[in-house]
């Protein structure tokens, strides 16, 4: 069977084609069925994301390339794609309540999440700079819209607007960097850049800096983090959960792939940048979160800090470091989705509550929720034997082995600082006098909370599958 277009094999892009076609079918169902079909479209979108994940795993093993090398499906891409698709699917499950209100029955929400996921998949598999840019735009454009999807809430509109303007700025920087890199190497493909970059040049490093600035924005790393707290706070909670999970996976994936496959021989140059970004993110994320009163803002600073920790692994520039990044981001996605589903579950008299003081005495009014949230907080702080500890362990070990001892020490210190505010939340939940009871938790939200909590709690019993999968994925980059 020949399955090709313009001489290019289509087999490696089969999951993307499935997702895009499915997204358009969903759009048609919604367009003809109207707002009534919102629930149906959302369920179908979750199934579609699941089917796409299965398709990614069912393709033949090994490194598949198509479109003249601008699309690469290797073990790294498989790992990240499954993770991103999982994050998107869980977000859609969490957003059912948000979409069930009559004024917010927008079936396009699910369609936009599906199309954004298609952008993430393109981004994760990108083998050249044009593909990176197109994937990034496809992913981000849908994100800007879902950030503003709660049209009655001025804060949501503000979040969408801020994200859009700053996102356009970062895209501009990325494009500027890409054009400089193209100008000095004469090619946009990563393998070509790697070959041309062997002897390095000032112009190329200039381009690299701008390229990394654009990517730092997407993963909300310091000094390009300023949008994160406002957007996380303003966007509707399911959307915030989405921002914190799937797009982060795609952003980290493209970050890792660009520096490791396109610039392996200018390690000295990008290592400085990544080390600086990692230290600044960890420090700012940990210190700035202390004074926060709003739990979503706090999670935003926590996200900044966690990206810093993940980049510690990348700055090692070794396969072990890349493995650490993959383990970190996988565990982080589970933790953050769990934490956001708890925030989503916190409603009093039908109103969402977001202040940390509202969690007071949760251990008495809803002990299960308090227990799982406590475990997730301990895990985010990196306390053994929870999953978050293993995540930090692997990146720090990789950094130490690569000789970046100072970086690892700073990482450990900032994670101790960070532990303060995670533990403060646990203290509020367990030792402060209780407020009135929260509403009963919806079934699907409670399910996500329990699943994320149990995965965190029991990860140490059987960590091998994740660790070995991440190891295989990281090796495919070298």
């Amino acid at each position: 069977m020949t399955f090709e277009i313009a001489g290019y094999q289509l087999l490696p892009v089969l999951p993307e084609l499935l997702l895009l076609t499915g997204g358009m079918v969903l759009l048609m169902i919604g367009a003809y069925g109207g707002q009534r079909t919102t629930g149906l479209v959302t369920v179908l979108a979750v199934l579609l994301l699941g089917a796409t994940g299965a398709a990614v795993l069912m393709l033949p093993a090994g490194r598949l390339e198509t479109f003249g090398g601008s699309f690469v499906l290797d073990d790294f891409a498989r790992f990240m794609k499954v993770l991103a698709l999982g994050g998107s699917a869980i977000t859609l499950i969490l957003s059912r309540e948000f979409l069930s209100e009559p004024s917010r029955r927008i079936f396009e929400f699910a369609v936009l999440v599906v199309l954004s996921s298609a952008g993430m998949m393109v981004l994760i598999s990108a083998g050249d700079l044009i593909m990176v840019y197109l994937g990034l735009e496809l992913m981000s454009l849908a994100l800007y819209v879902v950030a503003a999807s709660n049209r009655e809430d001025p804060k949501s509109n503000e979040a969408g607007m801020k994200y859009f303007v700053l996102g356009a700025l970062s895209s501009g920087m990325l494009l500027y960097g890409a054009s400089l890199v193209y100008g000095f190497t004469g090619t946009v493909s990563f393998t070509g850049i790697a070959a041309a970059a062997k002897d390095g040049s000032v112009g190329l490093v200039f381009g690299l800096v701008f390229l990394l600035a654009g990517l730092c924005f997407k993963v909300s790393a310091v000094p390009f983090h300023m949008w994160t707290p406002d957007v996380y706070e303003g966007a509707p909670t399911p959307v915030t959960a989405f921002f914190a999970s799937a797009p982060k996976v795609a952003g980290v994936a493209v970050f890792v792939r660009v520096v490791l496959t396109a610039f392996p021989d200018v390690l000295q140059q990008w290592q400085q940048i990544v080390v600086f970004v990692a230290i600044a993110s960890m420090a700012l994320g940990s210190f700035a979160a202390i004074g926060q009163k709003n739990i979503k803002r706090l999670m935003a600073y926590s996200a900044i800090a966690h990206i810093g920790f993940a980049l510690v692994g990348l700055s090692a520039g070794t396969a072990e470091g890349a493995q650490g990044v993959l383990v970190y981001i996988a565990i982080y996605v589970v933790m953050t989705l769990g934490a956001f589903s708890v925030i989503l579950a916190m409603r009093r008299n039908g109103q969402a509550i977001e202040q940390i003081s509202d969690f007071a005495g949760l251990s008495r009014t809803n002990p299960q929720l308090a227990f799982f949230f406590g475990m997730l907080m301990f895990s985010l702080a990196g306390i053994p034997p929870l999953a978050g500890f293993f995540a930090k362990f692997y990146v720090f070990v990789a950094a130490v082995k690569a000789g970046l001892i100072a970086l690892a020490v700073i990482g450990v210190i900032t994670s101790v600082v960070g532990a303060y505010y995670y533990l403060a939340i646990v203290k509020v939940m367990y030792f402060d006098p209780p407020k009135t009871a929260v509403d009963p938790v919806r079934f699907e939200v409670g399910g996500v909370v329990a699943a994320a909590g149990l995965l965190n709690l029991l990860f140490f019993v059987y960590p091998a599958p994740l660790i070995s999968a991440a190891g295989v994925a990281a090796k495919s980059l070298f």
Binding site: A6, L20, M24, I106, V145, G186, T187, V202, G203
Partner: protein, 212 residues
């Protein structure tokens, strides 16, 4: 100096001058008009380089659509630019310092920077001489670069969905055209024959019924 050189300096000079005017013009409408001048002169530069397709696209898309859209937005928004400019003098010293530092850094970089001779050979896609610009683009756009083209199409689809999601509101008070209902009307439902008594006219409930 040949004629193309002369035209290059003409286009480039006007381009830079009007780019400066975009920033310093007091009236925002003038700024947009200068922006259009920048676009037209850049199109001229493209034309000199033999990229006639890009030149015309620049005029059609940027001048014809984008700049006109800018103009509309500026006229509709009624932004008080005087107020926006108020901090200008106050921040001038700071801005100048940063600018000078950047300039110094750039000069340092440019001074100690030798461009490798091999860079000149980096043109990987030389301009074809046997076919026209448009034809050359058409030959690769739907074949070699089909994947980029398709993804760009999906990006456009997303922006379309986004525009609809963010702006369309279903208002119950707004009457919408229902073509099926219009076509289903028959003379029996649409026309009512009334006997009008001379000097009295139609009673109100009769006419109300008729409008239905």
């Amino acid at each position: 100096m040949t004629l193309p050189d002369l035209f290059f300096y003409l286009y480039a000079g006007v381009c830079i001058a009007s780019a400066v005017m975009v920033i310093v013009a007091r009236n925002p409408v003038h700024a947009v008009l200068f922006l259009i001048l920048v676009f037209v002169n850049s199109a001229g530069l493209f034309m000199l380089m033999g990229a006639e397709f890009l030149a015309l696209i620049l005029v059609i898309v940027y001048v014809g659509a984008v700049a006109v859209l800018f103009l509309f937005v500026i006229m509709m928004l009624d932004i008080d630019f005087k107020q926006l400019r108020q901090g200008f003098l106050r921040y001038l010293p700071f801005g100048l310092t940063v600018g000078v530092v950047f300039l110094a850094e750039l000069l340092l970089l440019a001074g100690g920077w030798v461009v490798r001779p091999s860079v000149a050979k980096n043109v990987t896609a030389p301009i074809p001489t046997d076919v026209g610009n448009t034809e050359a683009l058409g030959l690769v756009l739907y074949t070699t670069y089909i994947h980029y083209f398709q993804i760009a199409g999906v990006v456009l689809l997303v922006s379309m969905i986004g525009a609809i999601v963010l702006t369309m509101r279903h208002r119950s008070s707004v009457k919408r055209q229902n073509i099926a209902a219009q076509n289903a009307r028959s003379p029996e439902t649409a026309i009512a024959v009334r006997k009008v008594t001379s000097g009295q006219g139609l009673r109100e409930q009769d006419s109300a019924e008729w409008v239905q």
